[in-house]
């Protein structure tokens, strides 16, 4: 029972990451390779502020979101005004150096050892104790994230982002400040990723750089495209499938099998196959 709950929490955290990634990639056409890096920055900021800085959980969470959004804006300003390929490369590099920085800025990140004993969220003297309580917390925050994205999908903002995605030149000719909008959206997406990072820090109570490496962002992309972009349902379906499916391997008997690499191979293959045969994924509303 506990394990099932654990899986559900994992799916929820990934779903919250995928839905904010969808805002960037699916709706605005910003091929962000840095989402996992922002997830990591959020998680580390939360952990570092609570464990080393003695901050309370809520302030740490808010600060993590704000700091990450600010970093995203800083990185986005020079890179988003250039063409897509320059941006992709810059994010690729950003992802690499965030890992390097996490591993090497020992005073704040404890280097390769990670940060342990992240406190549980609390209201007054009541602190969430059980796994089930934490799962509820994660579900609540994830629910809010989904609600915001659902509202967005019903707002005029969505059409504007789609215009930027589909034809930037025409969008500019219509008076849309494309660069500024992209920077704002990028920062918002990064903020949400940081929020997911916070959740992760509180739930697992332990953060390491391993959770934010390149394979994480690839997993997120696979989840996004398998589930389908521009779709709230897809943002849940993708993580559900890609988290639960490897669990089947446990029953098949995974002794001596290099499960992580098998998973990686499958994610990679899945990305290719989805692009060739079903770019809109399971529930998505537009072809890649």
């Amino acid at each position: 029972m506990d394990y099932t709950l654990h899986l559900i929490v994992l799916v929820l955290i990934y779903a919250s990451l995928v839905v904010s990634l969808d805002l960037l990639i699916g709706h605005t056409g910003i091929l962000s390779f840095a989402h996992a890096a922002f997830y990591g920055i959020g998680a580390y900021a939360t952990a570092s502020l609570t464990v080393y800085g003695g901050w309370d959980w809520f302030s740490a969470m808010v600060a993590a979101v704000v700091i990450t959004a600010a970093i995203a804006a800083l990185v986005g300003i020079p890179t988003l005004r250039l063409g897509g390929d320059y941006f992709i490369l810059a994010m690729f590099g950003f992802q690499l150096i965030v890992i390097t920085l996490i591993l090497n800025l020992e005073p704040i990140t404890n280097g390769p050892f990670g940060i342990r004993n992240v406190p549980r969220p609390s209201i007054g003297s009541f602190q969430v104790q059980s796994g089930f309580g934490m799962a509820l917390f994660v579900a609540a925050v994830t629910g809010i994230v989904f609600w915001v994205h659902w509202r967005f999908a019903r707002s005029p903002m969505k059409a504007m982002l789609h215009a930027i995605r589909d034809d930037e030149t025409v969008a500019m000719a219509l008076g849309i400040d494309v660069v500024r909008t992209k920077i704002v959206v990028f920062a918002i997406g990064a903020g949400f990723a940081a929020l997911s990072g916070s959740l992760m820090a509180f739930y697992f109570r332990y953060v390491t750089a391993n959770s934010f490496v390149l394979s994480t962002i690839i997993l997120l992309w696979a989840m996004l495209f398998v589930g389908g972009s521009c779709s709230i349902a897809g943002a849940i379906a993708g993580p559900a499938i890609l988290v639960l499916f490897p669990e089947l391997f446990r029953f098949v008997g995974g002794e001596g099998l290099d499960i992580p690499n098998i998973q990686e191979a499958l994610y990679g293959l899945l990305l290719i196959l989805v692009m060739i045969f079903r770019p809109q994924g399971l529930a998505g509303r537009r072809a890649g």
Partner: protein
């Protein structure tokens, strides 16, 4: 009629090629000015320069008395210069109505506020929709408002791209070959729209055109561009008198073109 847009001695080269060579002309308010010339003469390049997508090495561009040379494309658009492109370039996956709504600027444009304010957003959405519907009525596409843009015929997409450009209530609309690819009937409807835009909505039009019938019938002024330079400029009658010059530059190609 007053000149609303003035282009003075603008020049631009690409690599070693001089695409625009000290071109000067002006477009008057509430009039249709046509820009004609052989393919590759630099007409679209001039549009791109005016609308801010390309730089120009020298010269002045003045709109309503103010220089717009250094402005970015979205700033040019917000000043009141709209443009269409050679391809309609509609947003295929959106509905006709959404295509038009996109250009309507929300007050303040703060995405987060829009989400939080709830009902205010709905009121703005409604206003935006009403304005868009009015524009669609002007161009005659109101019946197709709910259809996907990809399902429109080429001619309808052309009209949609014009509708889109009207959203910001521009003072001048630059149209890049609006009649290309249209059959006679649709062309006539387009001419009608252009005339209405000028006479009823009091807008100025700057039009790149190859179709001489169109040019001669609705333009107040014609500007002939050859190899990046303005070679002649005047009323349609004056240009017609310069027939030999026009033919020399356009003639053989024009006769061969099956317009």
């Amino acid at each position: 009629m007053e000149a609303i847009l003035q282009v003075e001695e603008i020049s631009q080269s690409f690599g070693g090629l001089r695409a625009v060579d000290k071109a000067s002309f002006s477009a008057n308010d509430t009039e249709i000015t046509s820009l004609i010339g052989p393919n590759g003469a630099g007409k679209t390049t001039i549009f791109n320069i005016i609308s801010g997508f390309l730089p120009c090495e020298s010269g002045k561009i003045v709109f309503r008395g103010q220089s717009i040379r250094e402005l970015k494309p979205f700033e040019v658009a917000r000043r009141g210069i709209a443009r269409t492109f050679q391809d309609p370039r509609v947003f295929a996956d959106m509905t006709v109505l959404e295509n038009v709504v996109v250009g309507i600027r929300q007050k303040g444009e703060r995405p987060l506020w829009a989400l939080v304010r709830g009902s205010r957003v709905n009121a703005e959405w409604r206003r935006a929709r009403e304005r868009s519907e009015a524009i669609l009525s002007t161009v005659g596409l109101i019946d197709r408002a709910k259809d996907l843009a990809r399902d429109l015929s080429f001619g309808e997409q052309r009209f949609l791209s014009i509708a889109r450009s009207l959203v910001g209530d521009p003072a001048i609309i630059m149209m890049d070959e609006p009649t290309v690819g249209l059959d006679r009937g649709t062309s006539a409807k387009l001419l009608e729209l252009m005339t209405r835009l000028v006479e009823v909505e009091r807008k100025a039009l700057l039009v790149i055109e190859h179709n001489m019938d169109v040019v001669m019938s609705v333009s107040a002024k014609v500007v002939l561009l050859v190899q990046g330079a303005v070679v002649a400029s005047g009323t349609p009658a004056e240009i017609r008198q310069n027939r030999s010059m026009v033919d020399a530059y356009l003639g053989r190609r024009h006769a061969a073109a099956s317009h």
